[in-house]
Structure formats: structure tokens, C-alpha cells
């Protein structure tokens, strides 16, 4: 009875304000990003002592390329400046010292675990977003519920009811010898309909996507609000996601990867290897937010990585694999404008944490649980993160 009533009320809500479903955009920084140099703890002397050649200097007024003061303790890397206005507006939330219980120090283990939404050695076999979509595919059965930008399906979407991997919308069609692609499409549909298995399911999904994309492509895309996407694959992918959102196809989840964060070697400071990556990230997210200004209530973006890096630099002026990282979330439903979480300090003598990683204060699943509950309206946290009890952090508005 209760469930029926809830469903009825939801339908009523959707009917009223013709708004499309909420979209969650997951940006994964592959390689273990050194977030200590994103949100710089300039108030801690240990930071400068441990990183003699790769620290970011404390904020200075009137100096170009200075870090940007967030509060008495933290400052943004200068290349994060495009995101500062969003922080000021209170829409960009930051949580310090987030991580998983994975102690392997392996990129693949840590990424897999985080994308599966599991504890170490807990084998779930599907991704947290895959489970979320399975448990939440109410009226969006026919829609393009999930896209992954790029060429491979991320583990987080494993098990989702449909996944589409694309790089751009413009070339999504089938060309055949005679030019009559309809009969080829029909025949392919039949062949992929003979048996029901994973491969055939994907064949059907791909054909379904083609039909919808065809309708979107009838006009050229112009970003709104002077949004200026960076000229690289990250910028292009964000632009295509914006296009899909505006196309109102019922997009619920979009996954975008940004790689190049495995900075063992010459990481750089205000400029250099990592600064270039931060620049791409910040410019891309700022353009995406501007372009989607009319959809601010229905789009939320999270940025995460598999682990942070060691608090001290190595002998090649880089950093090795560490533990906790800084988590970012952007949207109207986010309690932004502050750095949540206590600063754990840079001293760490606990062997289990591995030598020199930042101590994990919050399990990443606690944050994702708040997003699922308050932003995506999915209450089945216990099924998405089995055997896990989320801790209250307060990243989202109720």
C-alpha cells in the first residue's frame, strides 16, 4: 500500500514540473590523484617539510598563480580557480580524507573495489552504479539510462540494465553497402534476439540507442551561457553529456574518466604535469556547469579517485601510492562552500595504512550513500552497499 502510494505521488510530481530525471555524473580520476595539492593544507607546516620541492605555496594577495584561500587552513591549487565561484556559491562541496579500506596499494584493486562499492576481499561482481540502476529503473525502462564516455565500460556500471559506451553523438549510425541501413538494422535486431545473453542484450541496447540519437542529431549543438569547454577529450565528453541531458532521454548516470594522475615522477607544482591535469578538470567542470545552468536542480557531479598519494615526495620529485584523498561534489543539492571532515594531520605511523598515506577518516561509501539517498532518491542503500553501515557526514541537503 505504502509503496503504491509513493509511486503514485512520484508520478504526480513528474507530471507537474515536466522536469527530466536526475542525472549523476561520475568523474573518475584514474591513477590515484594527489589531492593534497588540489586542496592545499597550507596551515600545516608538516606539508611543506615533507614536500620540499613539490608543494603548492600558501595564498598571497595580488600575486598571479597564487593558490586561492578557502579558509584559514586550506587553499585551492591555482589551476582550480574556475571552480572557486562554485565553492563561493555553496554548490561545490569538499570532503577531506576519504578512502576505502583497500590496503593493496594497487591501482586496479583499489579502482575495482571502489567501483564495485565493496570492502576489501568482498566479491560483489557488479558495480555500485549498476546496482543502483537495477534497483531504480522505475519509469526509465526505455531510456538511455547510463552512458560511459570513452571506449570501455567502467566497472562501476557492471550489471546495469543498459550501458552505452560512446565518444561522441555525431557518428552514431550504421552505414551499409546499399545505403539502406533499415533492413540491416532489422536483421541485426533479429540475430541479437535469438537467445537471451549478455552479448545479445547489448546488441539490442545498441540498436535502441541509435534510434534515439538519430532524433537528437537533427540540429547542431551550441553550448549555452558562454560555456567554454576545453579542447580535449575530457571537454568533448562533458559537452556530449550535456547534450544528452538536454536531449531529455532520461539519462540517469554518466561516467567520465580522466587519466594521467599517477605522478611518480616530476609531478610539478603551480605548473607542470599535475597542474595541466587540474587545469583540464577545473575548466571542464566549470564549462559543464555553465552550459547546464537551466538544469542545475537535476544534475549532480562527483569527482573521485582510487586513492590519494603519499604525503611526502619521493626521490624523483613525484609521489607514490598513498591512502585517503579529497572528494568533490557539485550541485544544488550539495552542502558546499566548506571543507568537511577533520584534518587528520600528516603524521602516520600505522603500518596497516602503508608507509606515509593520509589517514582515512570517511569510507567513500558513506558519501555515495548520501548522494543515493538525498540526490537520487534511492533508499535501498543496504542492497547497493551490502554489509556496510554509512556514517553521517552531511555532504547533501535533505
Amino acid at each position: 500500500m505504502d509503496i503504491l502510494r509513493q509511486g503514485f505521488l512520484r508520478k504526480l510530481l513528474f507530471a507537474k514540473n515536466k522536469e527530466q530525471s536526475t542525472t549523476l555524473v561520475c568523474v573518475f580520476l584514474r591513477g590515484g590523484a594527489d589531492t593534497l595539492n588540489f586542496v592545499v593544507p597550507y596551515g600545516d607546516d608538516d606539508y611543506y617539510r615533507l614536500r620540499p620541492s613539490i608543494h603548492i605555496a600558501a595564498p598571497k594577495n595580488n600575486k598571479r598563480e597564487s593558490s586561492i584561500r578557502l579558509d584559514d587552513f586550506y587553499a585551492f591549487h591555482p589551476k582550480l580557480s574556475p571552480l572557486y565561484p562554485l565553492f563561493e556559491e555553496g554548490r561545490l562541496g569538499i570532503v577531506q580524507a576519504v578512502g576505502s579500506d583497500n590496503t593493496s596499494g594497487s591501482h586496479f584493486e583499489a579502482q575495482d573495489q571502489m567501483e564495485h562499492g565493496s570492502s576489501q576481499h568482498q566479491l560483489l561482481g557488479s558495480g555500485w552504479l549498476g546496482r543502483h540502476l537495477r534497483l531504480h529503473n522505475n519509469e526509465h525502462k526505455k531510456a538511455i539510462s547510463a552512458v560511459a564516455m570513452g571506449t570501455t565500460i567502467p566497472e562501476s556500471l557492471r550489471g546495469a540494465p543498459n550501458i552505452n559506451v560512446i565518444q561522441s553523438l555525431s557518428d552514431l549510425k550504421i552505414h551499409t553497402a546499399s545505403g539502406n541501413s533499415q533492413s540491416a538494422r532489422d536483421a541485426i535486431a533479429k540475430m541479437y534476439g535469438i537467445q537471451s545473453n549478455i552479448l545479445n542484450q547489448h546488441g539490442q541496447d545498441t540498436l535502441g540507442l541509435l534510434q534515439k540519437i538519430e532524433n537528437l542529431q537533427k540540429s547542431e549543438y551550441r553550448p549555452e551561457n558562454n560555456a567554454n569547454y576545453p579542447q580535449n577529450s575530457f571537454g568533448n565528453e562533458l559537452r556530449e553529456v550535456a547534450r544528452l541531458i538536454k536531449g531529455q532521454l532520461g539519462l540517469q548516470v554518466a561516467c567520465i574518466d580522466l587519466g594521467g594522475w599517477d605522478t611518480h615522477f616530476f609531478q610539478g607544482q603551480e605548473n607542470g604535469l599535475q597542474a595541466g591535469n587540474i587545469d583540464t578538470l577545473a575548466k571542464g567542470l566549470a564549462a559543464f556547469d555553465a552550459d547546464l545552468h537551466r538544469y542545475k536542480n537535476s544534475v549532480t557531479t562527483v569527482v573521485m579517485t582510487e586513492f590519494g598519494r603519499r604525503v611526502y615526495e619521493n626521490s624523483s620529485m613525484g609521489t607514490d601510492h598513498g591512502r585517503a584523498f579529497t572528494f568533490f561534489a557539485l550541485g544544488n543539492k550539495i552542502n558546499g562552500g566548506q571543507v568537511l571532515g577533520k584534518w587528520p594531520g600528516l603524521k602516520n605511523d600505522n603500518d596497516e595504512e602503508g608507509p606515509g598515506g593520509l589517514k582515512v577518516q570517511y569510507d567513500y561509501r558513506s558519501l555515495l550513500s548520501e548522494i543515493l539517498l538525498d540526490v537520487l532518491n534511492n533508499r535501498q542503500i543496504a542492497k547497493i552497499f551490502p554489509n556496510f553501515r554509512p556514517q553521517k557526514i552531511g555532504l547533501t541537503k535533505r
Binding site: R30, G31, T103, S104, G105, S106, H107, F108, E109, A148, G150, T151, T152, I153, R158, I163, N164, V165, I166, Q167, L172, I174, H175, T176, A177, S178, S183, A184, A187, I188, K190, M191, Y192, I194, Q195, I198, L199, N200, H202, G203, T206, L210, G259, G260, D262, H264, F265, Y312, N314, S315, S316, G318, D320, H321, G354, P355
Partner: protein, 494 residues
């Protein structure tokens, strides 16, 4: 002058003049075309020889099936295990023409990155398509993933051709310990996994663990192989001091950058002042570790037998691996002759990755290609250009990550069938003639050529409906039929 000599002379001349049309003509003349008659599988279950060939090659070249049926699988396997005895001149005609793949790495620095990138990719693709040493090429692919190097990192692009030649190709069917050693001090690997900046010069220097970790996690023991974080650290210490010199053309050990202290690795002690011998000790320890035998054999069984290979097979293979001290040939011989390999439940259960899908399409069609840009573009859209995988685990050997590539497979299928991939030509009429196809009642034979069995009644009905109002003599109709076969779920598997 016999045929072989003639071909050799022609190879020399042609590869110098680089004249593609002549190469195509000579290739067709000397056995690289389509045989006059072809006898595809005639039963509804997958042909055993077809299964054997589709796992030991990148796809069956027209005539391969008949060859194996004549000489037997065992004899064919033995021949493939001695690749140096297989004449590969026709492949060389196409694949040896790229200068940079023969050069020492120090010379590669004189070339533009674009040239190096393009020549390495073309070389890899053309070898996979045309080499008659197919098992060797398949293993080159396996080890290239296992010891993955992303050529866009730092100087790797100048060094990978040497790694491909001196590490991967030199040892692909050799001994595992030799392979690991070659890889450990390969300049490309020293750069890719930061071994060249791993040092202990000043007392406060902390080792760079990148290579040490991947050596244990990906190259030898596997992530659950029983090592600790301390072992990673100790291996990193033992491998400090290895460098390569761009101009002096060699790899060397600098003892002043080496951590000369005592190390403990997986329960073994490396005495102080081990110097460059520390490398040999580390490699002995990891190569002799039982986890390495089972991890490598598990990966091979997963690649060649089934996504979830039978445990007993992996155990038996590991025993061969340990007994022969890592003889790759012996392990493969055991695998391809094992009972488990011929278990019909594993037939056609593996999913072709994009590279495999494209190469097998071209092989089944005996295509004439020079792997130009339009051909490479398809690999790029499907995300499997050789040497472009960013992380050290290599392109995944699973179905799930590649399921998003179906649209691009379908587009490639139709483009190649209609001869619309520039720089690649197929001779469909000739293939149909060799298969003795005269009317559309015989399309089952065309399908069987590509999938190793007759189509099921349902498949047959779909093809029949598709071809219903079409004249089989018309080229576009033949092309659309072929396109559809290459699009089918059955052709995505092997």
C-alpha cells in the same frame, strides 16, 4: 631458381621499392590468395579443427582448415611451435618495410613521434594478419598485454620498438625467466614503470616502487600471490640503480645509485653488497615462486581455453611450467593437446576483442591491406590500438569491457564487405566462387566458412528473409550478406 628463392629475391626488391600493387600481385601468385576450392564445416556443431585453429591463430585464412585436416592438429602445432622454420617471406614483404622497427632505440630518437607510432602499429597489425607463424603472433599479443607499455608515456615511444623486438618477440615462445629478465631491464620498461628513477644515492632517498609492485602483482605472482607491502618495498630497493643511456646505446647498472644494504624478499635474504646480482636473485625468487607458475598458467588458460578455466587444467599446466623451469612451448603444447581444451562447452565461448575481430575479419576474407589510417581508425574507435593502453595491466581479456564496441564492429563489417575501408581490398566474388556458391540456397556454406558450423534453423531463417527479394549475383547484395555475417553474434566469438 625455385619458388622460395624467387619470392626471396622479389622480397628484397619489392620491399625496397615499396610498390604495393606489385606486392599484392606477387602475394596472390604465391599462395597468399584464396585457394581454388574451399570446404567449409558441414555439421551443426562446431568443427574441432576450426576450434583449434580459431584459438591458435587470429582467425582462419582460407585453406587453413583443409591444411589442418590433412596434416593433423599435433603436427600443425609442432610446426607452429618452431616459428623460425616457417617461411614468412610474403608477410615480410608487407611488414618489414618500416625502418623504425629495425633500428636501435638510440636511432629512433631521430624520428618524429608520428612516424614511430604509425610504423609500430602497422607492423603489429600486418604481422597479425599475414604471418604464417600465427601461434607466435598470438603469443606476441599475449605478452604485449602482460608486459604492457603505453607509448605515450615519456620516452616510451622511442623505446618500444626495441622492447617489441628484443623482449616480446625474442622470447614469446622461449623461457619465462629469460622473458622477465629482458623486460626488467628493457629501456621502455625502465621508463614506463619508473625503474630508471629508482635510486638510493643519498641516505634519505626513498625507492620508487612502481616497477617492483607491478613485477609482483602483474608480471609474476599475481595480486593474491602471497607477497606483502614490505616485499614490494624490498624488491624496489634491490632493483635500484638500473639505467639506460640514450647515446651509448646500452642499459647499465650504476652501483652508486644502488641500495647496497641487506634485503629480505618473500622470506629469502639477499646479503648486503649484492650489486647487480640483486636483480638475478630477485628474478630467481619470483620466477621460482609457485604463485608465478599458477598465475601465468591461469592467464594462458583464460586466454586460450575459457573465461573461467578448469582448475585441474591450470594445476597441470603449472606443474609443466615448474618442471620445465618456465618453458613456454612446453606449457602451450600441454594446453592445446589437453582434454579440457576440447571440451565442447568451451567452444566459441571467448569474445573477440576489437583487434582480434578486425584481424580475423581480414584473415577469413584473405584481404589485401596495408593497414593505412582508415583501417587504424576503426581500432581507435573501439579502443584497442596496439601500445595505447594507459595502465600496466594491459588490454583486458574479458567480454564485459568490450561490449560497448558493437556499433563499431557493425560499421566495420559493412565497410570492409563493401570495400569501403581505404587501403584494404577484399575479393568477395572469388571467395564465393571457391566456396562454390551459385544461388542463395547455398548461403549456409558462406556462413559456415566464417563460424565453423552450419547456421542454426533460426539463423538460417533470418538470413533467408534478409536475402529474400535480393539477387545473389548482384555485388551489393553479396556485400550486405557478408556484412551481416560479420555483424552476427557468432562471429564476435571464437
Amino acid at each position: 631458381m625455385n619458388r622460395r628463392d624467387f619470392v626471396k629475391v622479389m622480397a628484397g626488391t619489392l620491399s625496397l621499392c615499396g610498390c604495393n600493387d606489385m606486392i599484392s600481385a606477387v602475394s596472390k601468385q604465391f599462395g597468399q590468395g584464396i585457394p581454388k576450392t574451399l570446404t567449409p564445416a558441414q555439421q551443426s556443431t562446431l568443427d574441432k579443427d576450426f576450434h583449434f585453429l580459431s584459438r591458435t591463430t587470429y582467425g582462419l585464412w582460407p585453406g587453413d582448415l583443409e591444411k589442418v585436416k590433412n596434416m593433423g592438429r599435433k603436427a600443425w602445432l609442432e610446426k607452429q611451435l618452431q616459428p623460425q622454420n616457417i617461411n614468412d617471406t610474403l608477410c615480410d614483404l608487407r611488414a618489414r618495410r618500416f625502418e623504425t622497427i629495425h633500428h636501435h632505440f638510440s636511432t629512433c630518437y631521430e624520428y618524429k613521434k608520428k612516424t614511430l607510432r604509425s610504423e609500430m602499429v602497422k607492423h603489429t597489425l600486418l604481422r597479425a594478419i599475414y604471418s604464417r607463424r600465427q601461434l607466435f603472433e598470438v603469443m606476441v599479443g599475449f605478452w604485449s598485454d602482460h608486459f604492457n607499455i603505453h607509448i605515450e608515456k615519456a620516452d616510451c615511444i622511442y623505446l618500444k620498438a626495441t622492447d617489441d623486438r628484443e623482449v616480446i618477440r625474442k622470447h614469446a615462445l622461449g623461457n619465462f625467466r629469460d622473458l622477465i629478465r629482458a623486460s626488467a631491464i628493457s629501456p621502455a620498461m625502465l621508463v614506463y614503470l619508473d625503474g630508471k628513477s629508482n635510486k638510493k644515492q643519498k641516505p634519505q632517498d626513498i625507492p620508487n616502487e612502481n616497477y617492483a609492485r607491478e613485477l609482483l602483482e602483474l608480471h609474476t605472482l599475481g595480486v593474491y600471490g602471497g607477497y606483502t607491502q614490505k616485499d614490494v618495498f624490498e624488491v624496489a630497493r634491490a632493483l635500484t640503480g638500473w639505467r639506460y643511456h640514450r647515446r651509448k646505446r646500452d642499459v647499465f647498472f650504476n652501483v652508486h645509485l644502488h641500495d647496497q644494504g641487506q634485503k629480505t624478499i618473500l622470506g629469502h635474504t639477499l646479503p648486503a653488497n649484492g650489486g647487480k646480482e640483486d636483480l638475478e636473485r630477485v628474478l630467481d625468487i619470483v620466477c621460482n615462486h609457485p604463485s608465478t607458475a599458477s598465475y601465468i598458467c591461469y592467464k594462458l588458460a583464460k586466454r586460450f581455453v575459457a573465461p573461467k578455466p578448469p582448475k585441474q587444467l591450470v594445476t597441470n599446466m603449472s606443474k609443466v611450467f615448474s618442471d620445465t623451469k618456465g618453458d613456454i612451448k612446453a606449457v602451450l603444447r600441454y594446453l592445446f593437446l589437453s582434454e579440457e581444451f576440447y571440451n565442447p562447452t568451451f567452444f566459441a565461448q571467448k569474445f573477440k576483442r576489437p583487434f582480434h575481430f578486425i584481424v580475423s575479419s581480414l584473415r577469413f576474407l584473405a584481404a589485401d591491406t596495408y593497414a593505412r589510417r582508415p583501417q587504424i581508425n576503426y581500432l581507435e574507435r573501439m579502443g584497442q590500438v596496439p601500445f595505447q593502453y594507459p595502465t600496466p595491466d594491459g588490454y583486458p581479456d574479458e567480454m564485459q569491457p568490450w561490449l560497448g564496441t558493437l556499433l563499431w564492429r557493425w560499421n566495420f563489417a559493412h565497410a570492409v564487405a563493401a570495400n569501403k575501408v581505404s587501403g584494404t581490398r577484399i575479393h568477395l566474388r572469388k571467395l564465393l566462387k571457391s566456396l562454390n556458391i551459385n544461388d542463395k540456397e547455398q548461403v549456409t556454406k558462406v556462413i559456415a566458412h566464417f563460424i565453423g558450423r552450419l547456421p542454426t534453423p533460426q539463423e538460417q531463417q533470418i538470413f533467408a528473409e534478409y536475402m529474400n527479394d535480393k539477387d545473389m549475383k548482384k555485388a551489393t547484395n553479396q556485400q550486405e550478406l557478408l556484412g551481416l555475417i560479420l555483424c552476427s553474434p557468432a562471429f564476435q566469438r571464437y
